[in-house]
Amino acid sequence: MDAVNIAELSGNIAVVGYGLAAIGPGIGVGLVVSKTIESIARQPELAGRLQVTMWLGIAFTEALALIGLATPFIFG
């Protein structure tokens, strides 16, 4: 009888790679939003402009995670 390896993993290492790639942008988006909330709490009259800047910051940060999502299709 064959020895059964109970810790065997199967699947694609790219999934782990994407998990790692998502850490940075996750923290980044969190920082962007938290700082925006802080600023709005300090100066509520600037809320509109701050929100536009926040969306921009999120879009730039989030791009990293999305590039991570695209790499398996290019290099995989």
């Binding site: 921009l56 879009a59 989030e62 999305l66 590039i67 299709f73």
Partner: protein, 269 residues
């Protein structure tokens, strides 16, 4: 769609082949049309009719002097005004904002229309979830911001963006390649990828939730059927989330195009 939950009692997770549906018309010619292409054409038709109705009503009301808009007209004017006032005028100022308004309006409504089909029943896939449309729109934005910069500053536009002032000369070996990469390569690539990947991920999440629901309800046994209720709930939640994403991506795409144009127009300090 045989791809999800074939009736063999096993769960089939969605894959990237979701985005390559069968060809339904003109197979073998360069004009082969599949489901996604058909959805895009339908959205195009709907957008054309919507804008024809809105502008026709607007012209009528100017002619007859009845300036109070109806409900349908108000919706259109609010949407058009959103792009004009809070995107174009806010970032570019009135003069330049109105100059680039046709492109910005086209981008906003096209992205919104193509995105929203992702949650419309029976369409269920976003027209932007295949690279074509994001690529074309990103190229349009790319050409426009380079055109705007060259028109305003001439060749100095490339000098300004590649050799930013206030940097010691020997740092240019480091700064110039980075600036080139980020301005002229990564900007259009991230514009297209951001939209495309958001739509792909959203669609895969929805398919995963609902095909899991189907699996749990009809093929699982005993206690596992209860999980179906959970995945169904998640499916509805993600559908609502996808509406938000569709609008947000249209907004972000337009906003980024505007900001790139603004950066190209800006005078060097």
């Amino acid at each position: 769609m045989s791809l999800f939950t074939a009736e063999d009692g096993e769960f089939h997770p969605p894959s990237i082949y979701e985005f390559y549906p069968e060809i339904v018309l003109f197979e073998g010619t360069p004009f082969a049309i599949n489901r996604i292409m058909m959805i895009r054409l339908i959205v195009l038709g709907v957008l054309l009719v919507l804008f024809w109705l809105w502008t026709r009503k607007f012209q009528q009301s100017v002619k007859t002097g009845q300036l109070v808009p109806g409900r349908f007209q108000l919706l259109g004017e609010m949407a058009l005004n959103f792009v004009r006032k809070s995107i174009a005028h806010d970032q570019l100022g009135e003069k330049d904002g109105d100059r680039f308004l046709p492109l910005l309006t086209t981008i906003f409504f096209m992205v919104l229309g193509m995105n929203i089909t992702g949650i419309i029943p029976f369409a269920n896939i976003a027209g932007t979830s295949v690279i074509g449309i994001p690529l074309v729109l990103a190229l349009a934005a790319y050409v426009t911001f380079i055109y705007a910069g060259v028109r305003r500053h001439g060749v100095k536009f490339f000098k300004n963006s590649l050799f930013p002032s206030g940097v010691p000369v020997y740092f240019y070996t480091l700064v110039t390649p980075i600036e080139f990469l980020s301005t002229f390569i990564l900007r259009p690539v991230t514009l297209a990828l951001r939209l495309l990947m958001n739509m792909i991920a959203g669609h895969l999440l929805l398919v995963l939730c609902f095909s899991a629901t189907h699996f749990f309800f009809f093929q699982a046994e005993g206690i596992f059927q209860l999980f179906g209720a959970g995945t169904l709930l998640f499916g509805f939640a993600f559908t609502l989330f996808e509406i938000l994403v569709a609008v947000l991506q249209a907004y972000v795409f337009t906003l980024l195009t505007t900001v790139y144009i603004q950066l190209a127009l800006a005078d060097e300090h």
